[in-house]
């Protein structure tokens, strides 16, 4: 088996090498042509960066030429709800970028907007210097590998791969008898600008002046094009030989060249996956979009395909944008990972940055296992959490409230007290194969620890966290994430000392409560009391008042930031929880305020193992 794998990889490598060898020459000839030929290519006037100081790139920015695609202020509104809110990011040429997030975070919508299946309500998508928002999907130089492959069952393997090539049109310059280029008014470019104008007229986000300015710009372009003819082109289809050649090369890359005549329905899941990839890469897209492509495969197959995809990316040199909700997959495969939640980008960075230096509690909670605590800076590189002071490596202002992340593998366990250790009580211990996972209680707070050393359940252990193992983050301001909430015996949610009357049936699809207060889903009954959950609340869903008598939570205003049209407040409660609140009204620091949160606005996620609560 191993031998066979090696043989296949060798074959794959040879095929990829031949792709480059064979396509090298014609491509070079084709390339400069392709750039000027694309009928809708536009030269957007670039503002000279040296003149206007505002447009000088930020230090982290890279030159525009290195960005293959850039999303600028992209917003998508579905039925009045903003599913993507002012999204800005770019992808480097040849990069492997993964969009990672829980379902409904907007990652798939982002991908679909790049593919052209959705149109942003506002904002631009710049692909190689040109805004592709008005370009329909069948004219975009990007191709998609779909989640369930979406192969055409009426065609065989060859037919599926050849589908796109048969419809592909190659522009050829029109020449008159003397060999001079024929000049014509470029109607398709004019149509492109007309669609841009139509799009901007409907834009619900940008200001009126901006709208008028952009529309005027497009109108000027149209007026210019109407009077200035450009070299004309005609479209030619690929010949049968060209198609056959490219299909076979693509099939060789995915190791399916001997299966060209097979019916799609007679292939295994992994083989179908390969056909879907071959179908996309044979069109030589500028960007390959992959929408959870490995989701339908079994674990073993998925691991193999991960490595193979990574190898393919390296050899082909195409930019990959990959969507997944599997954090391990994201960390394994990507050059950079973009973590999303609630339509907002939480963090973009390399896998190590994302893992070691999460920007906020959401990212820390989503990537890997982590302990997240509320902390206070008590001195230079000193932070207080778990009821004691720790030395850390991050520098934050004195007395600032922060989120502290400690990875379970960064906690050392000892059976005897030593320097810098603190005691805890082992609540539970689970053997996980190469390590033990402990839940250790320090007072009322829980520390999750992964260790290779064995300790009996119920015993007292001593822990040490080195300064490098403590990561300090600014308090999250875009979302309230409470990672240590518990459902009590009345099926209410406890956040710190506050309780909320929530609808627990939302935790499980198609579930209901029975007369005894148990949650019933099909055959299963769950006793939810003591269940650990993560609660997220959007700042705009929290109501803030001066009247503390009827509020669910009372606290003092810790900080207040003006965000253009609203204030973002951090309210600190007596039970050491922080709530981020969005409000149009001004409050001053140290004001005592009351907060109330509509229970139906609280989003819950089960944190622990639900099966442990089954009755």
């Amino acid at each position: 088996m191993k031998e066979r794998n090696e043989r296949l990889t060798r074959r794959t490598r040879a095929a990829i090498a031949s792709l480059f060898r064979r396509s090298g020459e014609p491509r070079e000839k084709e390339e400069p042509q392709a750039v000027q030929v694309t009928p809708e290519a536009i030269q957007t006037p670039q503002p000279a960066p040296s003149v206007t100081p505002e447009s000088t790139p930020a230090p982290t920015d890279i030159p525009d030429a290195d960005k293959i695609i850039e999303l600028k202020h992209v917003t998508k509104v579905f039925d009045g709800v903003k599913v993507i809110d002012d999204e800005n990011f770019y992808v480097r040429r040849g990069e492997f970028l993964t969009l990672l997030g829980p379902s409904g975070c907007g990652k798939s919508t982002t991908l679909r907007m790049i593919a052209g299946f959705e149109t942003p309500s506002s904002g631009d998508i710049i692909l190689d210097g040109r805004d592709i928002v008005p370009v329909p999907p069948y004219k975009r130089p990007v191709n998609t590998v779909f989640q369930h492959y979406a192969l055409f069952p009426n065609l065989d393997v060859y037919g599926n791969v050849a589908f796109g090539l048969k419809l592909k049109k190659v522009p050829v310059a029109l020449k008159d008898k003397e060999g001079n280029p024929v000049l014509k008014i470029n109607r398709s470019k004019i149509r492109y600008f007309r669609r841009q104008i139509a799009r901007f007229e409907k834009d619900p986000v940008i200001s009126q002046e901006e709208k008028e300015r952009r529309i005027q710009e497009f109108q000027d372009q149209i007026d210019y094009l109407k009077t200035h003819p450009e070299p004309a082109y005609r479209n030619r289809k690929l010949t049968d030989e060209e198609i056959d050649d490219r299909v076979m090369r693509a099939l060789q890359i995915v190791d399916l060249d001997e299966m060209e005549d097979r019916s799609i329905t007679k292939l295994s899941g992994g083989q179908q996956q390969r056909v879907a990839i071959a179908r996309a890469i044979c069109l030589e897209p500028k960007i390959l979009l992959l929408d959870e492509p490995l989701g339908a495969l079994d674990l073993k197959m998925r691991k193999d395909m991960q490595l193979e995809l990574k190898e393919m990316h390296r050899k082909l040199g195409i930019t990959f944008i990959y969507v997944t909700h599997d954090q391990e997959e994201a960390l394994t495969m990507s050059d950079r990972v973009m973590v999303m939640s609630n339509g907002l980008i939480q963090q973009i960075g390399t896998p190590t940055e994302i893992y070691n230096e999460p920007k906020n509690a959401f990212v820390a909670d989503f990537i890997g296992d982590s302990n997240i605590y509320n902390g206070v800076m008590t001195g230079a590189r000193k932070v207080r959490f778990l009821g004691r002071e720790f030395t850390c490596v991050d520098d934050f202002p004195l007395n600032q409230r922060v989120d502290v992340v400690v990875r379970p593998e960064d906690v050392e366990l000892f059976d005897q007290a030593g320097e810098g250790t603190f005691a805890g009580h082992i609540d539970s211990c689970v053997f996980k194969g190469i390590f033990f996972q402990y839940s250790i209680m320090v007072g009322s707070q829980e520390v999750i620890v992964k260790s290779t050393r064995a300790f009996p359940e119920g015993s007292t252990v001593f822990m040490r966290i080195s300064p490098n193992g403590i990561h300090i983050m600014n308090k999250e301001l875009s979302l309230n994430v409470f990672t240590d909430c518990v459902i009590d015996k009345h099926n209410q949610l406890t956040v710190g000392e506050a309780t909320f009357d929530i609808d627990v049936t939302k935790l499980l699809p198609n579930s209901k409560l029975d007369d005894d207060g148990y949650l019933v889903q099909g055959e299963h009954r769950y006793d939810l009391s003591g269940l650990k959950v993560t609660a997220t609340i959007r700042p705009e869903d929290v109501r803030i008042t001066d009247d503390t008598s009827e509020a669910q939570v009372t606290g003092t205003v810790d900080s207040s930031v003006w965000k253009g049209d609203h204030y973002l407040l951090v309210v600190h409660t007596s039970d050491d929880e922080d709530y981020v609140v969005s409000t149009p009204y001004a409050f001053t620091a140290e004001d005592t305020v009351g907060l109330s949160i509509p229970a139906e606005r609280i989003v819950l996620k089960v944190k622990g193992d639900l099966s442990a609560h089954e009755v």
Partner: protein, 301 residues
């Protein structure tokens, strides 16, 4: 006990089969006898005077009346089935891509003609044609066209019902995949969606034909002069039979004709199955095609 159950199940099948096919078998046998009274085997002619004779078939081919009715029926069935298939398929695809509310309305509207009594459809169409003819055109509208409309109204909802499940089985991202692979929306529908729902469209077409073939009420109400009947009202097989049995026994030629139709249907069904099996086995071979092309190129050189 088990065997008893088996016997029950088996006997059910055999009784059903017997009830369906025995009468047809009888019909075929009787079509070789020239008796004009049903149930009385006429002897004295045919092979050795046993009554076995092809006279009925001879009469059938000589009868201009039946020929005309048959021709009319085929023309009306084919044309109305084609129009109904087009309308029903477009309707189903439209409803599939509509918002859920709109789809629900379309479904409900489509359901009514299916469960409605045919006589209501026929009556209402007649009233409408008379009214429109009197008020707008000031002439009698009844012709082939009103008959065609009648049959389309009758069968289009059934085509819709045949196509809709095929669309629901469709992977929703197939259409997007086609768009992604350079296909314009119309190409995507032609090259990907239509091939996928073709079985539904075909069975809808066949159903439309069979509905139109033996429809009597709508035909009787909406037909006017035209087609092979010339200036007279269009006569189809069903109206022909009806007009005959009003006056006397079923003409003997009808036995031969129905035998013919039955054999034709059996032929089509068997042929379709064989065609499908052969196609599945054959499969296309790109590698052999490529080898041939290569050989050709070599030869040229």
């Amino acid at each position: 006990m088990v065997t008893f159950k088996k016997v029950l199940a088996q006997s059910f099948i055999w009784i059903l089969l017997a009830l369906i096919y025995l009468p047809i078998l009888l019909l075929i046998v009787w079509s070789f006898n020239s008796s004009t009274v049903l149930g009385v085997w006429q002897t004295g002619n045919g092979v050795n005077g046993s009554g076995l004779t092809g006279e009925v078939y001879e009469a059938l081919f000589r009868s201009e009346e039946i020929g005309r009715a048959l021709g009319n029926t085929v023309i009306v069935a084919l044309s109305s089935a084609t129009v109904a298939t087009l309308l029903g398929t477009m309707g189903a695809m439209g409803a599939y891509y509509c918002k859920r509310r709109t789809t629900a309305i379309i479904e409900a509207v489509n359901q009514i003609p299916v469960v409605n009594a045919e006589v209501i459809i026929a009556m209402s169409l007649t009233v409408m044609f008379v009214m429109v003819g009197n008020i707008i055109f000031h002439e009698n509208l009844f012709s082939f066209w009103t008959l065609l409309i009648g049959h389309v109204v009758l069968s289009a909802p059934f085509v819709y019902l045949n196509v809709k499940p095929k669309l629901l089985q469709l992977d929703p991202s197939l259409y997007e995949a086609a768009l992604d692979l350079n296909a314009t929306p119309s190409l995507a529908v032609r090259k990907v969606i239509i091939p996928q729902i073709l079985p539904g469209i075909l069975s809808g077409f066949m159903l439309a034909i069979s509905l139109s073939l033996d429809d009597f009420i709508v035909t009787a109400f909406t037909s006017g002069p035209g087609l092979l009947s010339g200036q007279g009202t269009i006569v189809t097989l069903s109206t022909y039979v009806q007009s005959k049995i009003k006056k006397g026994p079923v003409p003997a030629e009808m036995r031969a004709l129905t035998t013919f139709i039955f054999l034709l249907v059996v032929g089509i069904a068997v042929g379709y199955t064989i065609f499908n099996n052969v196609r599945a086995k054959r499969g296309s071979s790109h590698s052999s095609k490529r080898a041939k092309a290569l050989a050709r190129a070599e030869g040229r050189r």
